[in-house]
Amino acid sequence: MTTNDEHNRFDDTFRQRIERLELPPLPINLDRVRADTLALQLAKATQQIRWLRGIAGLLLLLIGGLGIGYQHYNSAIPIASPPTKLATLTKLDTVYLTRYITRTEKVIVPVYAGAHWSKNDSNPDADILNTRNLTNPNSNLAQNLPQSPGNNTNTPTTDEGNSTGTALGKTAQRMVPEDENSPNAQPEASPNSQQAAVEPLTSRGIKGYFTPRTIPAIRYKPAALAASKSSAPPMTMAQRLSVSVYTGKERSSVDIRRDQIDAFSYNGNERISSTSVYGIRMGVKLTRKLRVSVGYEDIDYTFESLNSQKLKLKPELIDSQPTFVYRSIFGSAIVPSQELSKPPLLTDDIVLENEDNHVAGYNRIPVTFRYDFWNRPIHRKGRKITDLTLYGSAGGFYGTPSHQKLNVELYESNGRDFYTTLTNFRNTSPIWGWNLSAGVELRLAKKIDFWIEPSYHSSFTSMVSDLPLRTFPRSIGLRFGLQYHLSK
């Protein structure tokens, strides 16, 4: 028997006899755990599918809305049947216009009041003017009033009784020769209404006499005219579309929630020194004031340097390999072993020093609804120079990690030190969030607008996963950009 056989026999004996000590778990228990595992994985997959369904639903709504809008406004060519309906509306307008003329009848009443003065051959205005001692330049006119109504030869002044009210009432019916052909004129000019029209003449003094001469300026707009006002022409698809390019700076912070005690062993500065955003977005006008936009943004969070803080790292087993891992609140980065002077052993250690800012990049897809609540043309010397629009917008965003970069200096136990860049961060996760903004838009040229908007972004999912902590970024910032309308 060779030495190898002896060794194998020795090992097998140990293995067999000790494995006999092991009590295998009851199959039912193992099956239960396995079933729980599958249920957990199924629940997680279902949750992901639910999100995907939501996104797909939103996209379908957006595409469907665009399609309906496109079809509706491109097929808005007049066809045979609608003009018939329009003709009917025209007839209705005529009826309402007749009512409008009936209203103007009241204006004519004060003219008759002058005739009343001529009949009595006395001027009540003169007394009133004398007693009140007014210096109104219209007083001459007031004194001449009897001459003016006296010229009215059509006024039947002698047939009426002493009652002024009765005379006015009867005469008013004769004072509307133009309206006599109107079927609505007679019923409208009832004695009661005439009396009501005359009352101001006897109770308001001189002002009451002059007021009727200014009454023709009365502003009355019949409802039928307002209703018949033509609506704005429909927008074409090209008029609805716009593209914006923009940039901005944000003041960001991260909210770290450490769920377990292990979380305190994760390093990294939690202060974000700056955040820069570059983006492009496409907007579609749903109505004249409401617009939905979808965009793409590249956002870089720059975390402050740890001021040359040194961290001692111990190797960990990653994929059965001893590996140095830098654990930060933004994910775990593996120190590239090939740059070390020798493969790391479990007993080794290295010191890591932060040399620069930590940059974490994200790509964001925002979906935003914008409402224009104020829009006015700006004039200068009577000429329109631009349009100014104030708007508010709200929406959500989906962000996915694109890159991370951290420059460090590493000190090996044998005295060697070198610089490297950690880029392969793990445990990062896509984020979902919401945003609010308000802005001002100014027209620069026919199709180009400049806009500036303060905005607030906050995520409600963590930017790291499978770690004992959760990291939520939020930011407030100012963005500005140019918007190009495909047609205006």
Partner: protein
């Protein structure tokens, strides 16, 4: 699984702690199981990893013991079949009493079926070191078994 953990530590209570830690890790990472291979094998692998982590944490605090010193108090024996006469609990105790480095290599080679190259990667040691540690572990076990046998023999 308790026996798996017991092979890597000296004291039973330590093995129970590792078992508990292993199951906590198992339940926290249930969603990462990808149904590749048997479920039991996956659980066993987690337990072994927990034990190796424990080994790495404790090995730095242990005093350095040279092999020569270990051999001093053991007399050589060439009785090959003595092992058959010892029960399984005693064999487990013998493994537990091995120095940590030997114990880890012996367990990984004999019970987990790893090659020397894989053991070297796992423990961060050289392949040659793994081989020599295994040889030393076997020799130590043989001698301990022999001593047990001598103690068990009636005095004539």
């Amino acid at each position: 699984m308790l026996v798996v953990c017991s092979r890597y530590v000296r004291v039973q209570s330590e093995a129970e702690d590792l078992l508990q830690e292993g199951f906590i890790k198992l339940f926290r990472n249930l969603h990462t199981y990808r149904s590749e291979g048997s479920f039991e094998g996956w659980i066993r692998r987690i337990m072994v990893n927990i034990c190796l982590q424990h080994f790495k944490q404790t090995i730095q605090n242990l005093p350095h013991i040279t092999v020569d010193k270990l051999y001093e108090d053991l007399s050589f024996t060439d009785e090959p079949d003595i092992i058959e006469m010892i029960n399984a609990e005693q064999l487990l105790t013998l493994i537990q009493e091995l120095p940590p480095a030997y114990k880890a290599v012996f367990n990984l080679y004999v019970f987990e079926g790893l090659k020397h190259r894989e053991i070297a990667e796992q423990l961060g040691i050289g392949e040659g070191t793994s081989k020599s540690n295994l040889q030393d572990a076997r020799r130590l076990l043989q001698r301990k078994i022999a001593r047990l046998n001598q103690e068990a023999k009636p005095i004539r």
